[in-house]
Structure formats: structure tokens, C-alpha cells
Amino acid sequence: MNKKIWAVVSREYFTRAKTKGYIIGTLMFPIIIVFLFGGIYIFGKAFQPSTQNFAVIDQTGRIYVQMVEMLPDTLKNGSLKFSFSEIKTTDENLEPTIEELKQKVLNKKLTGFLVIPENILESKEVKYSARNVSNFDDLEKIEWAISKSVSNIRLENLGYSPEVIRREMYAGYINLTSFQLTEKGEVSKSGVSNFLLTYLLTYLLMLFIMIYGQTITASVIEEKSQRITETIISSIKPVELMMGKLVGVCLLGITQLVVIGSFVYLLSAFGAPFLLKMGIETPKLLNIIGNLQFTPVVFMFFILYFFMGYLLYATLFAAVGSMVNTTDEGQQFLTPIIFLNIIGFFIMITVAQNPDTPAAFWASLFPFFTPSVMFARIAVSHPSLPSGAVLSIFTMGISIYLIIKLVAKIYRVGILMYGKKPSLKEALKWIRYK
């Protein structure tokens, strides 16, 4: 590329990169992330659950030992989540003991207490008393531990030895691991986070293409409305000016995406482990982000399709900018282009779930849908490539080349045309001008 184009590229890049809007836009995401982590760190520490103390009256004398053994959960800071103490009592002393425990709960010396009746095997009822009984997760665990203990005892009563029971029960556990079938073999991953990633990234991709595409329109209109074009055109060919603009604004977009992408990557790779190290339980939301398969390869395709999708759309946006005198006038021409992009997005939503149908294949090769649909197919099929992925790069390349050729002719005439905005038909006539 020649020096003149680089002059345009660097003007376009640096004057825009220095604006407040761009700097805020670029740093917004990382700043939000930093605040999020900071918030989790500060509030996570403050609201960290402490060890819960339970008293257990085990009238059977056989349950307590087993259930405690089954609840070894610890908090992130290493201390026990549940601490149990067994209260021995006789039938006569039961009522006063319970009264005593109630007082302790009310005085917050105890989280709660359990009474396991002697006839638990038949009644299957355990009483739990506490100030707060809405901690379902914890109660479910305790319920589960006691249930298992009861099952064990029933089996022991049938004559099985504890060792046999433990072995057999353990042998009965199964794990559901999902595997994705690809040409390169099976790869295990979880489906949910992958779809989430795909939608999220594709949405971001299209948003960026539109935002930066419209920046081009604004940039062309600026030069036109401020009557700068003629001065510039005396030094550089219109097509070079257009290319310089396209590349300069594209680099702005890529800068922003790399900053945001790096943060998402750092977040998914190091976010949860970092918090864990600080002794803070990771919120479920962050766990999902942590599970995102945001690999460098997906990121690379993301940038590639941004680059190509941007060039395709932004070239059209440049044509619109050259044809009109104000942003308002441009709206009429911009709407169909934006619409085209939205159609691609809707197709993408379906295709992400069925990435291998012939319809998905063809839709992803239509240049205006390729950035969204093909990217979605790549993200969903990752790490193997869907059919037509490589082909799409060629079809996009050719389309971009043709569109630029065509638009350069409209652009050349349009930027020097003042006054009434042309109809689409008139603008298309410009293509045939010498």
C-alpha cells in the first residue's frame, strides 16, 4: 500500500482513537469486568458463609457417625461448612434437652438441631429446627446424608456387611458426560455454554460491523459536508481515499475487539481460579463464563469474520455516505443494509442448533450472511471446521473485491456531488461513468 493511503489510514485511526467516545467504548468492558471482580471480592468476603453448627440428637445411635462422614464439605477458606455435635440424652431428658437446644438456637450459639427418632426406619421423619429454614441447598444435603445412612442401616439389617454396602452403592454411581461428534473424533464439552458463546459472539460481531460501518458513512459525510473532498482528491485518488478510510476505521474496530477479547479470554481462563485463590466462592454466572470455550482459534475466526464482514458492509456504507449530504438523508439507504444484517442474525439463531444442514451450508456462503452464519457454525462445531468454512473465506474475498470495485465508481462521483441526493437508480448510473 502506498504512503498516501497510509496517511489517510493513520489520520482516520488516530483522530478517532483520541476521541472520548472511543476510549470510553473500548475501556468500558474491561472496567466493568474489573468492577465486577472487585465487587465480588469485597462483597464475597463480607458475606462469606461461616461454619454452620448443628446439634444432633440421634436416638438410634447409628445414624450420626455415618451422616457426618458423608458431609465433609468445606468452605473456600478451608474451614468446615457443617460442624455437627452429637447430644446424648435419655428419653426422660429429651424434652429439657430440646428446650435447651432451642435456647441455644435463639441465642445464635447453634445454627439448628436435628432430632433423629429411634423409629426412623419406619417413620422416615427427622425434625430440623432452626431460625432460618430457607437454606434449601444445605438442607437437601443433610436430608440426602441421613437418607443414605438410613438406607445403609436397612441393608445392614438385611445382613449385608457395611463394606459390601459401601462398595455396591459406590459402584452404582454413574456420570453423564456429553461428547460432541466431529470428524476429528469425539470431544467432550458442555452444550449450554457453547451456544451462549456463539450467540454472544455473533451478536457482538454484527454489532461491531454495524457500528464501524456507520462510522464510515459519518466520515465520508463529514468530508463532503465540510467541503474537504476537493482538497484531498488533488493529492490522492478517490479509490485510495476510500480504501484508507475503510482500513483506518477497521483497525479501530480490531483494536477495540482485541482489548475486549483479551479480557474475555483472561476472564474465562483465570477469572474463577483467581477468585478461588482469594478464598471466594465464584458466583454461578461467572462459572458459565469460565466454561466458555473461547479459544484463540475461535477468537481468530472472530477477528477474521469481523474484518471481512466489516469490509463488505462498510464499503456499502461508504457508498451511502458518498451519495448523501447529511446523516438523515443516509438513513433511507442504510435501512436495507442493516436489514440484511438482521436477516443473517435470525438465520444464525436456527443454524447454530443445526449447523450441518444443506440450508445452513448455503446460507453461510451468502456473503452478507457469512460473517454471522458461518461464524456461528464454526463456533458451534469448534474445534472441527464446518463444511464450506474455507470456501467462505474465498467467496467473501471475491465479493469484497467486486463490491469495492463497484462502490469505488459510485464513491468517486458521489463525493464531489453536492445538492439534491440522487435516487438509487441515478447512483447506479454513476457506475458507468468514465
Binding site: A7, T15, Q226, E230, T231, S234, S235
Partner: protein
């Protein structure tokens, strides 16, 4: 060697023939004034020279023998002036210098020199939108000459400038002329053209009606005026067959003689009738030529 050769260019916009079969050429070191009333086709001609508009027919050959990218050798000040309002002066100038592929070091040096010269140096780091219209004009002029162009094309360079700044710009143009820069400029300020140009082209309604070296044009125009100051009765002016027309200004009179009458004969004729205080043969001013030519062409057209 011709630096610029324009051959039979024409351009129509819809039904209007903006430029009609215009031809001229200029040599290195020439200063060419492109003159004409408003809407004569001056700007359209310049735009065709700059390849901003493609002529319907005819050809433009610009700096044919130069090896360098010819756009770098040209400085163009368009009639439609504008500059990035949100950028700082120095950044705009650096950008435009880069577009001409100037070396960074040279560009910075030149920018400082010209900003100083045109009294804009304290605005160097200010945004363009903070400048007045006149300052923006001067800035645009700097941008045009920054890269020391071989050929300078100025479309109405004095438009919107006050007399002080007009003189400043004229001074610089004369300096560049002395330095060997070839200059084309359009104007309808005949006075400036008379001072600066050695060649003129007069365009009206898209057609060239006069062209050539300024002396030749004046000579071929032929009409010499006599500036006469006298004492005595003014009867001699009336019904004098030698006089085509005259303008009496009280203290003096401007006389235009009939085609076949020489000033010599006229002087002989009047010397006995009045006391002559001053008798001067004046060449027609460009202004006279301009008005006369445009006027007569318009009349011709009306007859058609």
C-alpha cells in the same frame, strides 16, 4: 516545454454547456490568469485540469515528462474550501503534507515557516473550528504551497480576504513566481490579474474570448484611451469626428478615438482649441478589456 496543455475540452451539465471547446497551454514559469465573470466556466475548467471532472471531449496533459507522481508537484486551492474542523492546525497540515509524500522533517520545518509568515503560529495547536474564516483561508493557502509545488492552481485565491491579507498572499505569489513556480489562478479581480499575470485567458459562457500574453492582448484589443487635462471650452469634444466616445470627469476627460485616427492627429487637431495641461496615451486596463469583451460577446449572442 508546456507544463500543461489543454486541448479542446468541453463539458456539459444537463442542457448547460459549462465549458465549450477550450484550449490553451502554459510554459514553465508562466503565471496565467483565468478570467471571466461568475458562471463563465472557470472552476469547471480548473476541475477538469485537476481530473476532478472528466471532460466530455478533449484532453488535458499535465506535467507529462515528470517522473514523480504528478499530483505531488501540484498545489491546488479549490474554490470549495473546507478543512477538518475538529483537527488541530498542525495535524491538518501534516496530514496534507503526508498526502503529498513530503518528508516529515521538511514538512514540520515548512509548516512552522509559513505559519509564522502568515501570522498563524500561535494557533498551531488550536482546532480549526476556533479560527476565523480569513484565518482558515490563509491556512488553506499554506496547505496548497507547503510542498513547494511546481505548478500552483488557485481557484479564486483572494475570495473572502481583507485587503491586508490579499496583499500578503499576492506578495507570496509574486515570490513563488520569481522562484520559478508556474501558476494558474482564476479571479474576477482584474487588478490582481494585471499585477500578477504574464498571460491571461478570458472565458465567458464557457468559451475563450481572449487569450495570450498580457501585452499582446492589450495590443490586439487596440483601443487606446487618451487621458486629457485641459483648460478651455469643451466644445471641441462635441461632434468631433475623430472621437468615438468620451467620458468627462470634470477635471479630466477620458477619450476613445475612432479606429483610423492616431493620437498624433488628434493632438494636432485640438492643440489650437484648448490649453493642454496633460496629454497621456493610456493602454486599456484589463478591466476595460474584460467589460468590453464580455459585453460585446453577450450582445452578439443576443443577436443570434
Amino acid at each position: 516545454m508546456a507544463i500543461l496543455e489543454v486541448k479542446n475540452i468541453s463539458k456539459s451539465f444537463a442542457s448547460l454547456k459549462a465549458v465549450d471547446d477550450v484550449s490553451f497551454s502554459i510554459e514553465e514559469g508562466d503565471v496565467l490568469g483565468l478570467l471571466g465573470p461568475n458562471g463563465a466556466g472557470k472552476t469547471t475548467t480548473i476541475r477538469m485540469i485537476m481530473n476532478i471532472i472528466v471532460p466530455d471531449s478533449g484532453s488535458v496533459t499535465l506535467l507529462k515528462n515528470s517522473e514523480e507522481n504528478s499530483t505531488n508537484l501540484i498545489g491546488y486551492l479549490p474554490e470549495e474550501r473546507g478543512i477538518y474542523r475538529k483537527m488541530k492546525l498542525v495535524d491538518v497540515l501534516l496530514f496534507l503534507a503526508k498526502l503529498k509524500e513530503m518528508k516529515m522533517h521538511d514538512a514540520k520545518e515548512q509548516i512552522d515557516y509559513w505559519l509564522e509568515r502568515l501570522d498563524l503560529i500561535k494557533w498551531k495547536k488550536k482546532k480549526i473550528e476556533e479560527l476565523s474564516k480569513g484565518m482558515q483561508q490563509k491556512l488553506q493557502f499554506i496547505a496548497t504551497i507547503l510542498h513547494k509545488p511546481k505548478l500552483l492552481i488557485l481557484d479564486e485565491p483572494f475570495l473572502g480576504l481583507d485587503p491586508i491579507n490579499t496583499n500578503l498572499i499576492k506578495e507570496i505569489i509574486l515570490e513563488l513566481k520569481a522562484g520559478g513556480t508556474t501558476i494558474i489562478f482564476s479571479t474576477h479581480q482584474m487588478e490582481s490579474a494585471e499585477k500578477l499575470c504574464n498571460k491571461i485567458i478570458l472565458i465567458n459562457k464557457g468559451k475563450v474570448i481572449l487569450s495570450g500574453k498580457i501585452g499582446e492582448v492589450k495590443e490586439s484589443f487596440g483601443k487606446r484611451n487618451i487621458h486629457l487635462e485641459y483648460e478651455g471650452k469643451e466644445d471641441f469634444l462635441n461632434k468631433n469626428k475623430m472621437i468615438k466616445k468620451f467620458d468627462n470627469f470634470g477635471n479630466y476627460v477620458e477619450i476613445q478615438l475612432e479606429e483610423n485616427v492616431s493620437p498624433q492627429d488628434f493632438l494636432k487637431e485640438i492643440i489650437s482649441k484648448i490649453q493642454i495641461k496633460k496629454f497621456e496615451i493610456k493602454e486599456p486596463s484589463l478591466n476595460d478589456i474584460f467589460i468590453e469583451s464580455v459585453h460585446s460577446q453577450n450582445q452578439e449572442d443576443d443577436h443570434e
